[in-house]
């Protein structure tokens, strides 16, 4: 049973526009949510995270929003740039557990 779900396998966005990547989760015990970015033939790299006690975290062009009541989070990228084309993984950690649970990923294409 998937605890972290990314229902859009791919997303295409025009350069300069906003990219919104969505993620849903089922486990109410998750206390940290993370986004990773992955280019082909490379390992994932950490992008941004948010604690369950917050509803927003911002880092430059990247903002993550958390809606605990809906068990939903989203990653906003503004403005989208060509280098943002990659696979984005939503992930979550349960309090006291060192394992991170990953979604299946969303491939983001930034169109020129």
């Amino acid at each position: 049973d998937q605890q972290v779900k990314q229902n859009s396998p791919s997303l295409s966005v025009q350069e300069g526009r906003i990219s919104i990547l969505n993620c849903d989760y089922t486990n109410s015990m998750f206390d940290y949510f993370l986004w990773y970015k992955k280019y082909p033939a490379e390992g994932p790299t950490f992008l941004i995270s948010i604690s369950s006690i917050k509803d927003k975290n911002e880092d430059g062009r990247f903002t993550v929003f958390l809606n605990k009541s809906a068990k939903h989070l989203s990653l906003h990228i503004v403005p989208s740039q060509p280098g943002d084309s990659a696979v984005y993984f939503c992930a979550a950690r349960e309090e006291g557990d060192d394992k991170i649970i990953f979604g299946k990923g969303t491939r983001l294409h930034i169109l020129p």
Binding site: Q6, P9, Y32, L34, Y36, K38, A41, E42, G43, P44, T45, F46, S49, I50, S51, F89, A91, R93, D98, K99, I100, F102, G103, K104, G105
Partner: protein
């Protein structure tokens, strides 16, 4: 910066071979992990280790084993490689920084023929 180094970027092995994938981290982290990434399936946890000589099964341990003889090194072993183990293998180390999560290696693309 934490470095997680996987010894091979690309490997081609024959069915039935015993395969060793090596991973080394340089930050004295206790927790290390092996994942595989497959299209449409995301990242799936194979094995992890909390300390030297300790190991725990992840979600898909069948056909794999691991070794952690030293804190900095975590090896994944394919006992008898099969074609369905063709995949991208990713090693990760858990940082102590709150909210940061893993640092991943560059990955090993393994092809079993």
């Amino acid at each position: 910066d934490v470095k997680v180094t996987q010894s091979s970027r690309y490997l081609v092995k024959r069915t039935g071979e015993k395969v060793f994938l090596e991973c080394v981290q340089d930050m004295d982290h206790e927790n290390m992990f092996w994942y595989r990434q497959d299209p449409g399936l995301g990242l799936r946890l194979i094995y992890f280790s909390y300390d030297v000589k300790m190991k725990e099964k992840g979600d898909i341990p069948e056909g794999y084993s691991v070794s952690r003889e030293k804190k900095e090194r975590f090896s994944l072993i394919l006992e008898s490689a099969s074609t369905n183990q063709t995949s991208m293998y990713l090693c990760a180390s858990l940082t102590g920084q709150e909210g940061y999560g893993y640092t991943f290696g560059s990955g090993t693309r393994l092809t079993v023929v």
